[in-house]
């Protein structure tokens, strides 16, 4: 793998240069000290001081609300009864400063949106337009348990490029051909010397060591689904839950959405909006019957999906990358690490 070195004094110029070929998207602070990923305005730089953004970067390829198509039933219109996909730009965009666990989450979400049977064109087109320029986690937060979920602070599995902040300079692992193209576009070409590569190895080791929060889920995979389903602990786990959508909305691996038609007289549009298994509306039938009509059922569903069903279906670990967002954002501190422990050990 090619490893480059970028002096921090050269960073802004290179980033700016790459704008000729890419739209830039990165982490920014907004509102009352919350943060998210969005397109960076001209001259605006990604804020690398943010460790874990409040909102995950999943919105880059899976916006909270997206127009799928518009329609009109107005016979006077040439577009009458035609479903028109809005003109979206899928020009190349570089996601600067995505954390390795968030990029790994993209690979998990891809399993849902890009299957042999079905390809979600909105998600896939956006995803394919992305070049993921990751930023290694050198100072992990205490709720980061990414090393136990198969990713980690320097994981390159979802990335095209990995940047490592080494103080005066960035070390740059060029992971894929896509990454190589971005690096060329930005004009970064100084190869790292042997000494810097040594620094990279020791920083990687150091960062992994700093992550002390862990989960274990092997036993969950072995247990019978119904045994887990019928456990008595769901009562106490779900008691404090407000059934808000916070955990699912901040989660980089939650992919559920709702289809809504919004119409005004003869015109309308079909929307794809985030949805949450925490909401009663998520499962209600047109008859009014709701198969998941209690809080306990909904809470159980979320954890069973993340920690059991996903393992059973794919045998590729859990539907979680250990970013810790749901742990820190949950208004009532329902901690997936504790739930996982109960499911694994009881």
């Amino acid at each position: 793998m090619r490893i480059l070195q970028i002096q921090k004094t050269d960073w802004s110029a290179g980033l700016e240069k790459s704008r000729q070929d890419y739209r830039l998207i990165g982490p920014v602070k907004e509102g009352n000290n919350v943060s998210k990923f969005r397109e960076l305005a001209a001259g605006e730089e990604p804020d690398f001081s943010i460790s874990t953004t409040t909102m995950s970067p999943k919105s880059v390829v899976f916006p909270q609300s997206e127009v799928m198509f518009t329609f009109t039933t107005d016979s006077a219109s040439p577009d009458c009864n035609i479903m028109k996909v809005p003109e979206s730009s899928y020009s190349p965009r570089a996601i600067i400063g995505i954390r390795p666990f968030d990029a790994a989450a993209m690979n998990i979400v891809k399993m849902n949106f890009d299957t042999p049977d079905y390809r979600d064109p909105y998600w896939c087109d956006a995803y394919e337009a992305c070049t993921f320029i990751g930023l290694a986690v050198t100072d992990p937060e205490s709720c980061d348990f990414s090393t136990s979920t198969g990713t980690g602070p320097f994981d390159i599995s979802g990335l095209d490029v990995l940047l490592i902040d080494a103080g005066e300079y960035f070390l740059v692992e060029v992971v894929t051909e896509k990454g190589s193209t971005w690096v060329r576009s930005a004009g970064f070409n100084k190869e790292a010397d042997a000494e810097s590569i040594e620094v990279l190895h020791s920083m990687r080791k150091e960062a992994k060591k700093k992550i002390v929060s862990t989960v274990a889920f092997e036993n969950i995979n072995k247990k019978e689904t119904l045994d887990l389903y019928n456990e008595s602990y769901w009562d106490s786990i779900s008691f404090p839950c407000l059934n808000c959508g916070t955990c699912t909305y901040v989660c980089p691996t939650c992919w559920c959405f709702d289809i809504q038609d919004e119409s005004d007289r003869k015109k309308g549009r079909r929307m794809k909006n985030w949805d949450s298994c925490m909401f009663p509306n998520f499962t209600i039938h047109t008859t009014g019957h709701n198969p998941r009509n209690t809080k306990l059922m909904r809470v159980r569903q979320r954890f069973m999906h993340k920690l059991k069903y996903h393992q059973s279906k794919y045998d590729k670990g859990i539907l979680c990358v250990g970013c810790g967002r749901c742990v820190t954002s949950c208004p009532v501190n329902i901690d997936i690490r504790e739930v996982c422990k109960q499911m694994n050990n009881s």
Binding site: G31, N32, S65, S142, F239, P331, I334
Partner: protein, 316 residues
């Protein structure tokens, strides 16, 4: 604080033995700093899990809605007012709830503490005498608790429970010079366009997770208007008209019923101060009808009733 915790456990230990009581609802230690989540205690073994801190921001009246049987609940001033509201509105019967009042000197805002401290926080220790020690990333800072309080707690005039079966501690003093509506007056003073922009800016980061609604004891509609599908009143997307409709209508729905407990703000993952909507309505209810929510179970909330003394001409 420890005296208070001991007393809470002592009372809970007595109540769990009472077979007529289904559960005791209180707060427990969180798995991360600055949060004390609700817990229901049903056995003597679990009593030790109960705690109290300045992070008990959730309003426990929220857990009484539609609960079957008799329950005991620890209640701060605001929680007790929300319970009164529940009784007045027929959501819970007085005889079905044992209220253990906890006089309260205010809860702290975790976002405020995080902003002030800067780095990730590992530990927050409250000392006697109103100081708070915050530790993280190898350093330590000392703050005055009064600087870390939630905004609603700073302007609270009902620190002591208004309805209770027993009290955990002696009532606390309520200062007489509290300026309750300074934040509202600032918004009232804005030009109409600026006022709209203020609110649009306020909700611009809203993700419609509905944590504010779901943490609110007053928001107990079986189906919230935003969840109605036949007809559907409001769009589900993230565009401003739909998001604003949710916040404005929710606020109006709580008019004369909101006790300014601040659970909405404390629950918001995006740290939105949606009290800016509800506090104005609280002020209006006080100005127009001398009404404060949750002080007496014998009267219906202001907007549900009228009297010959109401100031509006159309009622005379």
């Amino acid at each position: 604080m420890q005296t208070c915790i001991n007393k809470i456990r002592e009372i809970a230990a007595r109540l769990v033995k009472d077979e007529t009581i289904e559960m005791v609802i209180g707060f427990q230690e969180g798995t991360i700093p600055m949060i004390s989540p609700p817990i229901s205690v049903r056995t003597a073994d679990d009593v030790e899990k109960l705690t109290w801190s300045s992070h008990c921001c959730i309003n426990l009246a929220n857990y009484l809605t539609d609960v079957k049987g008799k329950v005991a609940v620890f209640a701060k001033g605001c929680d007790s007012r929300s319970i009164v509201n529940h009784i007045a509105e027929g959501k819970v019967k007085r005889e079905d709830v044992v209220i253990i009042g906890v006089p309260c000197n205010g809860m702290m805002e975790r976002h405020t503490i995080s902003n002030l401290f800067g780095d990730e926080i590992e530990e927050v220790v409250e000392e006697d005498g109103g100081t708070v020690i915050v530790r993280g990333k190898g350093r330590e800072e000392k703050y005055r608790k009064s600087d870390l309080l939630r905004q609603n707690c700073r302007v609270c005039v009902h620190k002591n429970p208004v309805l209770y079966d027993e009290l955990v501690a002696d009532p606390v003093d309520v200062p007489e010079d509290i300026k309750r509506y300074e934040e509202v007056e600032k918004i009232e003073a804005l030009a109409i366009n600026d006022r709209w922009n203020f609110f649009a800016d306020l909700i611009s980061t809203c993700i419609r997770c509905y944590a504010c609604r779901d943490a609110c004891p007053t928001c107990y509609c079986p189906t919230c208007f935003v969840d109605e599908t036949q007809p559907q009143w409001v769009g589900k997307g993230d565009e401003e008209p739909d998001v604003m409709t949710f916040h404005i209508l929710r606020a109006f729905h709580t008019a004369g019923r909101c006790t300014d407990c601040g659970a909405c703000v404390s629950s918001c993952p995006m740290t939105i101060n949606m009290r800016a909507f509800t506090k104005k309505l609280e002020k209006d209810c006080l100005d127009l009808w001398d009404w404060e929510a949750g002080l007496t179970p014998d009267m219906r909330p202001a907007l549900e009733t009228y009297t010959p003394n109401d100031p509006e001409d159309n009622f005379k």
